[in-house]
Amino acid sequence: MADPTESPGSPWLFLGFTLAIAATVLVVLRLVVGVALDAPTLGLAVACIALIGALRGMWGVVFALTRPTVETIVAESEAGLAIGSRAGLREEKQRVLRAIKELEFDHAMGKLSAEDFKQVGAGYRLRAIEVMRALEEDLGELHPLLREHLEGLGVVAELVGAAEPAPVAEPEPSSAEAVP
């Protein structure tokens, strides 16, 4: 689907093109008219490039406003809402997994006693399992039509990837893998 926030053409391509044109104009002026390529002339050339960039930016505003309304805005908003409702869970999942890894690393470095490691780690693992289950259930609740639409947009793959249970660390940490 076309992204309405996209500008007409790549900005980097545009910049490269503008620089190339400016360099060509300067070389031609130097060779044909004999213009001195001193600091003020180069300064003026930079100003011209910036002006072209500004005109392109303003054209981009008009271009974005005059594009036809994207048909999928509603569906996109729904998807956005779905993603928004999952954001908290995903954040929680990332935080818990990070915490487990950090806990293992701290334990391997001797910052945590075995008892604390076991107790705190057990809480984290339980929470990780809960969050992943919730994520899986949440994905399962998508409306079939919306799911189909999201698959078309390539969003579902991302959601599934996010919801797939990542390998939770083993209860007994492997110190070699404990580097956070």
Binding site: L51, L65, M109, G110, K111, L112
Partner: protein, 691 residues
């Protein structure tokens, strides 16, 4: 059409573009219209390009010596080197405001380009917030301080062009203001993301990632700018020091303190979901303080060698803007207060969270103390009680213990585990660093004793004398001890981390030290980059503590005479008068001797610029070593007799301040380089990103 007219028209178009973009983004956010939001994204790019065009025009005016523009006339002259002509762009008040607009619009475009898909729900709010800030500064340019303002009459009537202030014609001063501006201005981005997240009600992970790296970027440039300012003062002003709590230099320190606090407290939110309100508040305060810094420098409400001069109109406008930001931002925060409640609670005081909370309170208190002390003379004057001066000793009295407390926390924090640490493991953790700290303390106390004995010509000092010497340098002794403690902590973290990283995977041989180091930095860049920053700050503290043992002498010395400076002798070998296209120079020739042997010949000077002969500059000369600087500065001279008033200093360990800065910047580069690999990382990826 003249450059002045074209420039003014550009500013007007820029103003209109800001209004349009802010409007599109606001309506787009309200209607959830991708079309309007898309147009506002393009508007942000157009604003950046227009600001670039306006800046290019003023630089062109400088390069082409267009003295019909008042700003160019006041800050440049045709004889100035090309480099200074370009940098004169931000050398005056009007140009510095345009430079602000250029940086802010550039950062806004970068932030929007990088995040418009990742944070699609926030981006419209981010845009209108950033653009409204831009609008304020563009408004100032149009209505109050137009850098394109032409002379109404013939420019010749205004006299010769004045040229850039000679004090600013220094390489450090060329880099120092842009670096501070980069720090100040880039704080607008985390502020915009923070406020957008609060307004949109998405105060979870989304905004943290963008905000953390931008804040680190701002923090790095603020640090760099502050140290460069110190280096400039050290080399250019000739008073032998690098930090004197000047109000404008302090202005860079306020947001530095709060940004430091934020960079620590955001980790608590990432790990534990705690302190959301606090983090948003810190983002607001940091940005607000960056505007306060801009206000102090430009309004003239504080007296400083760095300030642009008094401007009551600007002072009022900035004052109102500051109030709007403060009340508006905290109003939104209170509106979303319930949404921002913590998900977890502090479980133990023996935890990293608690250490970070203490760190946060300390840094906030330091920021508020320096702000209050900087503003107090102004408040005193407003209350009709006359202007007072707050001396360096007042700041040092409170800030030295506070700084040492922060250094202590730097050494303690890494030992703490998240959630809670057992006393047994803490005992184990602290054993080596505490021992190193104590050994360092005893070592420096013995060194102090030996130094005293040497000063007394080999006579054994009395107990009272030794005690007095220790008490005189109690903060320096404590600082050296804490440096030992902190460096031991950091070393221990590296050694233990490497030991873990070297352990082999099942069925494989142990990793080499190089492999393990790379693995450690690649997979835990934030944690170990942070330790490198801590190391840099500790080294800086080591250098700062050396000041306690400094020696200063002010002498009148004639050619051929020799004076004693600590364990050196300084011999006056004569004066030399020269001149170039820009200035007259009197250069002194001084031989630095130690035990009769020549160490180095130093050549301090006084320069009189033709444009500003009433403001001669001091060019200091230094003999630099890792142990100390021998620093000479010519204050006055009698050209008939050659008699020179000389200020001489021995500044022990001062170069460690600059070395520490380099280490700190290296650590920052490691941390900023952190990249998230995927949207939903597994544990290994997640930690690679977050350390």
């Amino acid at each position: 059409m003249s450059v002045a007219t074209l420039g003014t028209i550009t500013l007007l178009v820029l103003f209109a573009m800001c209004l349009t973009t802010a409007g599109l983004a606001m309506v787009g956010a309200h209607q959830r219209s991708t079309r309007l939001i898309g147009a506002s994204v393009q508007g942000v790019y157009a604003i950046a390009a227009l600001a670039g065009f306006a800046s290019s025009l003023i630089i062109y005016a400088f390069l082409a010596d267009d003295f019909s523009i008042q700003y160019v006339h006041h800050t440049s002259d045709s004889a100035m080197p090309l480099f200074y002509k370009i940098t004169a762009f931000w050398g005056g008040l009007d140009g510095s405001l345009l430079f602000w607009v250029l940086l802010l619009s550039g950062f806004s475009a970068m932030a929007v380009a990088a995040n418009r898909r990742r944070h699609a729900d926030l981006i419209a709010h981010v845009i209108w917030i950033l653009v409204l800030i831009d609008l304020f500064f563009v408004g100032l340019l149009i209505f109050v301080k137009n850098p394109f303002e032409p002379f109404l009459l013939e420019p010749e009537l205004a006299g010769n062009p004045r040229g850039l202030n000679p004090l600013l014609q220094n390489a450090y001063m060329i880099i120092h203001p842009p670096s501070l501006y980069l720090g100040y201005v880039s704080l607008a981005v985390p502020y915009a993301f923070g406020m957008a997240a609060v307004i949109a009600g998405q105060v979870d992970a989304a905004w943290q990632q963008s905000v953390r790296r931008w804040t680190l970027f701002s923090w790095t440039f603020l640090s760099f700018g502050l140290v460069l300012g110190g280096l400039w003062a050290y080399e250019e002003l000739g008073w032998g020091g690098y930090w004197a709590w000047d109000p404008v230099e302090n202005a860079g320190l306020f947001p530095w303190f709060t940004a430091t606090a934020f960079l620590h407290s955001i980790m608590i939110q990432e790990r534990r979901g705690m302190m959301r309100r606090w983090n948003v508040s810190l983002v607001i305060i940091s940005f607000w303080l960056s505007i306060v810094g801009t206000f102090l420098t430009r309004s003239g409400v504080v007296q400083s060698v760095h300030a642009f001069g008094k401007d009551p109109v600007l002072a009022w406008i900035f004052g109102v803007f500051l109030l709007v930001i403060l009340f508006g931002s905290f109003g939104v925060l209170f509106w979303r207060w319930r949404l921002l409640r913590s998900r977890a609670e502090l479980e133990s005081v023996l935890s990293r969270e608690f250490a970070f909370i203490i760190n946060n309170w300390l840094f906030l208190a330091m920021a508020m103390f320096v702000l209050g002390s900087t503003m107090w003379p102004t408040f005193h004057e407003w209350l009709g009680q006359g202007r007072i001066t707050i001396r360096e000793s007042h700041y040092n009295h409170y800030m030295i213990p506070a700084g040492l407390a922060a250094l202590l926390l730097t050494g303690i924090g890494p030992h703490m585990a998240w959630r809670r640490s057992s006393t047994e493991s803490l005992q184990q953790q602290f054993k080596i660093p505490l021992s190193v700290g104590l050994i360092t303390l005893v070592g420096v106390m013995i060194w102090e004793f030996l130094r005293l004995k040497q000063m007394l010509g080999g006579t054994m000092p009395s107990v009272e004398q030794v005690r007095a010497a220790w008490m005189d340098h109690v903060w320096a002794l404590a600082c050296f001890s804490l440096c030992g403690f902190t460096i031991a902590t950091i070393s221990q973290e590296f050694v233990r981390g490497l030991a873990v990283a070297r352990k082999p995977a099942p069925g494989k041989p142990p990793r080499s030290l190089v492999d393990a180091t790379i693995r450690l930095f690649m997979q835990a860049r934030r944690r170990y980059g942070g330790y490198v920053i801590h190391l840099g700050i500790t080294v800086m503290c080591f250098g700062i503590a050396g000041k306690a043992y400094g020696i200063e002498r002010k002498v009148d010395i004639a050619p051929g005479e020799t004076v004693q400076l600590g364990h050196y002798e300084v011999r006056h070998d004569g004066l030399r008068a020269t001149e170039d296209w820009q200035k007259q120079m009197i250069t002194g020739e001084f031989a630095i001797l130690r035990d009769g042997e020549l160490v180095e010949k130093l050549q301090p000077a006084r320069w009189w610029y033709f444009q500003l002969p009433e403001q001669p500059t001091t060019e200091v000369a230094r003999h630099m070593s890792l142990g100390e600087d021998v620093y000479l500065s010519m204050m006055d001279l009698d050209l008939t007799t050659g008699k020179t008033q000389l200020r001489m200093f021995i500044n022990p360990l001062v170069n460690w301040v600059w070395i520490g800065t380099a280490i700190m910047l290296f650590g920052s580069a490691i941390c900023i380089g952190t990249r998230r690999q995927t949207q939903a990382p597994g544990p290994e990826q997640g930690d690679a990103a977050h350390g």
